[in-house]
Amino acid sequence: MTRKLPPKDVVIIGLGWTGSILANELTDEGLDVVAIERGPWRNTASDFPPNHAQDELRYHIRHELFLQPAQTTFTFRNKMDQSALPIRNWGAFMPPNGVGGGGVHWNAETWRFLPSDFVLRTHLTQRYGAHFLPPDTTIQDWGVSYQELEPHYDRFEYLCGTSGTAGNVNGQIQEGGNPFEGPRARAYPNPAQQQPFGPTLFAKGARELGYKPFPQPSGNMSQAYVNPLNVRLGPCTYCGFCEWFGCANYSKASPQTTILPVLVRKSNFMVRDQCEVTRINTDASGKRATGVTFVDASGQEWEQPAELVILSAYTIFNVQLLMLSGIGAPYDPVANKGVIGRNFTHQTISDVESFFDKSKFIFNPFIASGAIGMCIDEFNGDNFDHGPHGFIGGGYMGQVQSNGRPIGTMPLPPDTPRWGAKWKQATRDNYLSALKPGTGVHGSMYSYRDVYLDLDPTYRDRFSRPLMRITMDFHENELKQNAFLTDRFAEIFHAMGADQVVKKYRKGPYDITDYQTTHLCGGAVMGADPRTSAINRYLQSWDVSNLFVMGASAFPQNAGYNPTGTVAALAYWSAAAIRTHYLKNPGPLVHV
């Protein structure tokens, strides 16, 4: 039997980056806030202290900090006429779990999207004409501009202590930064991280080819930092155990190292961990949320009434909760109607592995931070003329190798056998003198009518709820984009003096076993038109006005950058709208 808890002002579903940001903003407003988190509470000192944080098998290979597929997973197929099958073990992406969410395990690559990314369809149509877009693409404008988000990007970067070199301060291009970035009001809070040999050599090669390399903006501290909430972070030690790992040094920006120490001390905040929200409840009209239903670790079901519901789980789980709660019209790709599940995207990444003369090059690949690296942005977004190339989109590229952990990062020349004496000798010969950036080419993935999420008809989770079904394949536009970018990327490694450069193009079909970042986007997108978006420009549900949906599920399509900076900027933007407008006059913030 469901037991009912006393009402709260706000219930937050999922305490990762956006849940923590919203909780802190709304408790500052004096509201009584409870966050409900499916995974466990996580502490630096107890969960990933420096005496065992650096365990590749435990954290990377065996996925200790991640959601377990036994808890819930997704089914996958490439095409609508195929049967989807369950993802039994993680491959293409790794959903986070627990307090801090993906902020615990990320590399802390802290980018802003380009101004043109937010008005993508308008921009591309104006520059190239509507006929230039792929015929089945469903790309659209976001309903919010870069200029509107700029102060919110700034807040997140100062919260995190982002280390970087500004490229454009109030329209003034800055030497050493990214000349293509949108104008920022001020420089990064910390100077860029120091760069090891590999990225330094990459920058030299890129300059020789006429590019303008710059350090990747990094949430790993280049020096000790005290953030505006008075929380302290320590300097990054370049340990090489960042992505998949919690940071034992308190030097990677995460909710744990930037917000939670302040948030958990507030008397008007509490978090329930190991509790999974199974439904957002609505009243008889279906237009007002009354709170949530959740199941605790013992299997007891509870109802938590609340005036305001913040949905801030991982991308697909946001979409799943909306669907299972009957909020918003489910997307139908055949009729091309409905919004929940529409415009689902991932990232188009590829890599180049390069092999150098071991008597002349020692890269020490283990000396790295999560967001280390020198990058170029000449081929991102619409920073170059796409006219001659016949595709849209792009990405940053760089020597962004975050580690030299030998199980996962062991580049070997392509003629090497997979085992035996020659394999062993090749590991010995190449480990220190080869480069493997990982996500060296970090390209956009735009949205298409037949790439979407819905409920699986066969497979169910431990509560007997249908799993979400992913229908996804690469489209020709993205594969063309990737071939062009990967070729440009490889040229830089030749300029660096590599003996052998191996291009690992992204090829179709989309493969659920091959890791391609955890940047799943869309499915509950923002926009100006309720017929093509689930939420308005303030991330407020068009259908249920006291429900706000955070996260990358709001992206109408994915740009050529890591998403977290934009996810967090949108969260601050939404929080500001709630604080300044919604609370004074609850109801729809946008009327159509």
């Binding site: 065992h52 099958l85 030690t237 020490n364 952990r405 085992w419 000798q425 079909p509 493969d511």
Partner: protein, 243 residues
Amino acid sequence: MTNFRRRDLLTGTALVLVGGTVARASVVSGQLPWAPDSSSADAVQAGQWLFFTPPEAAMVEAMADRIIPPDPQTPGGKDAGCAVFIDRQLAGPYGRAEGLYNRPPFVKGIKQQGPQSALTPAQVYRTALRALDHFCRSQQGGKSWVELSSERQDEVLHGLDSGAIELEGADGKVFFKGLLTDVQEGFFADPLYGGNRDMCAWKMIGFPGAHYDYRDWVMRHNERYPHPPVSIAGRPDWNPKKS
């Protein structure tokens, strides 16, 4: 007293105050009173097999030596402890496929949909090793796997890998894929888990292991890092000598 844990050391004062009678005394001299950590996984000790039968263990040790043959500088898979690593992994959550999505129906899909087997890794090893033993005894002149020459062992492994050799009641290809991953992971994982004995694999390639602070080295470009590796379980010269 060599077996106390660092956490006890750190909280020792509190224990004295709160616990009253729990106070303990020890003499520290000549070596650091350091022990492999408490909150990490328990360090694997070689010894009795936990999952494999002794004949199975002998087979896997011999396979590990074909996948990673010994050479004058670096031990092979067997002496590096790869079979011990796999034994402990198969006896634990990995062997039981714990945490994975194990609900039916199990339907064979296309490659890009990933593995759809109902078998756990432990079941794959058990059935495939039995089938391989049967294959060898019936097809290889009555010889068991371990009695085959190195060259013949390589041929059989290549046959499993390519699917040219079919085992009765087991999928040799799936088995070999898992074996290859497990042997190489055991070789390069922290020695805590039973493989990579004395950090031999890390020494071979030049990986410093769990070092965790390279601030002094970021800007020393193109220089060989001079320090020996360290594991989560420390370094042999750090650990108190067994009395």
